[in-house]
Amino acid sequence: MHEMSVALEIGRIAQEQAGPRGPASVATVAVEVGDDAGVEISSLAFCLEAVLAAPPFAGAKAVITRLPGDVLRVAYLEVDDGRPDH
């Protein structure tokens, strides 16, 4: 039921950590969710999709990994660093 609060906080952390090119450059937000974290995965995925589709994000994708225990954290971000492919 509180997955939207969790998703918003994940959005805030991602925004803070996004680096010099800002939240719009974030391609992936990787989240680890423990079985005992009290978070319903499908509901969190749904909420994160909404949060990461809206500004300041530009359609970042959430990757949720289930783990044992009560961990609930943002593991890493993938950002487009603006350099051309080589």
Partner: protein
Amino acid sequence: MAVRTIDVRERVMARNDALAAEVRRRLREAGVVAFNLVSSPGSGKTTLLERTLADVGEELRIAVVTGDVQTQNDAERLARHTDRLVQAVVTNGACHLDARQVLAALDAVELERTWLLFIENVGNLVCPASWDLGEDAKIVLFSVTEGEDKPVKYPKVFQQARYAVLSKLDLLPHVPFRVERAIAYARQVNPTLEFFFTSALEAEGLEEWYHFLRAQVRRRRTAA
């Protein structure tokens, strides 16, 4: 595009927990004991607090921060029983209180005139379990009109609580609720959970509850 990975490893609750630590620090400094009261809607949190405020509100210098999804009805109900402070937090849809709301509410509470603070959470046995509010302990209420198996259905909140209040005991003759089964279920998820048995309407079991509150306040005041 070239993708760069940024290692974050930040706990989602980190900011809430930092704010909760600040709440805890301020309460400790002021010598205030704080309990976070959680239950499903209608278990009797407000009624227990009404009775407690009327009976020992002055003696124990009780202040209340009460959270509701909508309306300030609970705060108004409680305020009728005390001249002491009752601070309402309307969450506007959110299913729980968070530490930021409690920290903001503390500014309205005169901590130097307070010994005991009750934080009445939003009626909900799921979400409040995930948010530390800076309390000394969580107290979970459930009533004899609910299922005996509440503790195993909502284990997280019962695991986190240090105390449980079984409420509405005056209704026991009218419902099929078996107290010993409820206790057994509760001990299954939390073997050290301490129980109180109350009827706030008929004023049963309240002496033991008040005795406990007095002891908690005394311990904190002598430590301060």
